[in-house]
């Protein structure tokens, strides 16, 4: 690991100033940052710890769930109101990582975690996310885990977070703080598609720090679930996953929220499927059509084409479970 200086800012503006310095890195739980530093993927000169800042708190008030960026995955998962009113958030957290990691890893870090594409994490390969313009060894390489939606000729790396699938479905907001103060970023704008510049993954400006996320409550959030398929039944990243929530009124779907994980380069909201199901009856036929629409335009490789029927079946299972 490259030697680095570690600093402990006491206030948020001070953390932002330190985060604006060249080659600086924010660190909270450290569960993913330390790995990437050991692999030489990240080589910061200054590591800015966030533990002295007050980024804690989980509150549900006026139909808005606020989660401090410094809360751990465990604290959020076991919070009684999160479990009662946002089951897809609870389930997505408890199906992620291991308990040891969940006890240390933070919500802000979860949003900022990088892809598990092996070519990103091994510096002997080319990767456009790691190094602008380097090329991509995943395309044409080993890509069974890779994305089938929102890919580009520059990058097919899947986003790895489970929580973010639920946050995409529920249209959360990310509240950040930077040199010009606080601002709100819609979850759908927080991640940038890997077009010409896959290395620019986030809509964050230099030094901007995540303060909290806000998730609006809805009946569909209460009647929701997260289903994850992985190669082994515990402590593994998703091969495909679905976060879904539905509100029914007299036999009609009045509201539906669908997120899909490990199939797209960013946390994916299945807008076409949502639009189709809205106002329809909760029948298997309609669910099948929604699943078809959700994967329309998928770009597959010979080894990840199985994700198309897999994610369709998971979506079908989730929607059937909720109705």
């Amino acid at each position: 690991m490259k030697p680095f200086e570690i600093v402990y800012p006491k206030t948020i503006p001070e953390a932002v100033r330190q985060g604006q310095q060249r080659d600086s890195l924010f660190i909270a739980g450290g569960t993913t940052a330390l790995d990437l530093m050991k692999y030489h993927v990240w080589q910061p000169s200054i590591v800015v710890t966030l533990e002295s800042l007050s980024l804690k708190g989980i509150r549900l008030e006026n139909n808005l769930l606020r989660i401090g960026a410094g809360e751990t995955m465990s604290n959020v998962a076991y919070h009684s109101e999160v479990g009662q009113y946002f089951p897809m958030i609870k389930e997505s957290l408890l199906l992620a990582a291991s308990q040891g990691i969940r006890n240390a890893a933070t919500i802000g870090g979860n949003l900022m975690q990088r892809t598990r594409c092996p070519y990103f994490r091994d510096t002997t390969y080319r990767c456009n996310q790691r190094e602008a313009g380097a090329g991509c060894d995943a395309i044409g390489g080993w890509n069974r885990y890779h994305a089938i939606l929102a890919t580009s000729p520059q990058c097919i790396a899947a986003h790895a977070s489970d929580l973010c699938v639920a946050l995409a479905a529920l249209q959360a907001s990310v509240i950040v703080y930077g040199s010009s103060g606080e601002r709100r970023i819609a979850f759908g704008d927080f991640y940038q598609l890997p077009g010409k510049n896959p290395e620019e993954l986030y809509a964050l400006k230099p030094g901007e720090l995540i303060l909290r996320i806000e998730v609006p409550y809805s009946e569909a959030a209460r009647n929701s679930t997260y289903i994850k398929v992985r190669d082994r039944n515990s402590y593994a990243f998703a091969i495909s996953s679905v976060a879904a929530g539905i509100t029914l009124s007299t036999g009609t779907i009045t509201e539906v929220k669908i997120g899909m994980g490990a199939v797209a380069t960013i946390p994916w909201k299945a807008r076409e499927a949502e639009k189709f199901l809205s106002g329809k009856a909760p029948t298997e036929e309609n669910f099948r059509e929604a699943a078809r629409l959700a994967t329309q335009g998928a770009q597959t490789t010979p080894t990840n084409a199985f994700k198309v029927p897999l994610i369709q079946n998971i979506l079908l299972k989730a929607l059937s479970k909720l109705t």
Partner: protein, 92 residues
């Protein structure tokens, strides 16, 4: 990270020659063979018991996940943790 925090290692569990109930339960239920992973297993088990989120064998297994035992003592490990959780319930 861990600035200002108290850290307990396996050496800090027993009270002199008296083993911690989790250590005693691991011996009672053959929760190890070679012993290489045991310190980590016991420290994770302590967190599982103290956090109070495990109520059955399946949940114990899930919350202990990530601690690998190449000897395959998993059943004994889960037996030991289950016993300590049950004891705790009785004495509460």
């Amino acid at each position: 990270l861990c600035q200002g925090k108290e850290i307990t290692t396996i050496e800090g569990l027993s009270d002199g020659d008296t083993l911690h109930p989790i250590q005693a339960a691991f011996i009672e239920h053959d929760g190890f063979q070679c012993g290489y992973c045991t310190s980590g297993q016991i420290m994770s088990a302590l967190a599982v018991v103290n956090n109070g989120h495990a109520h059955n064998r399946e949940q114990i297994g899930e919350l202990m996940s990530g601690n690998l035992c190449r000897c395959g003592a998993y059943n004994g490990i889960i037996d030991a943790i289950e016993e300590v959780i049950n004891q705790k319930r009785l004495t509460r």
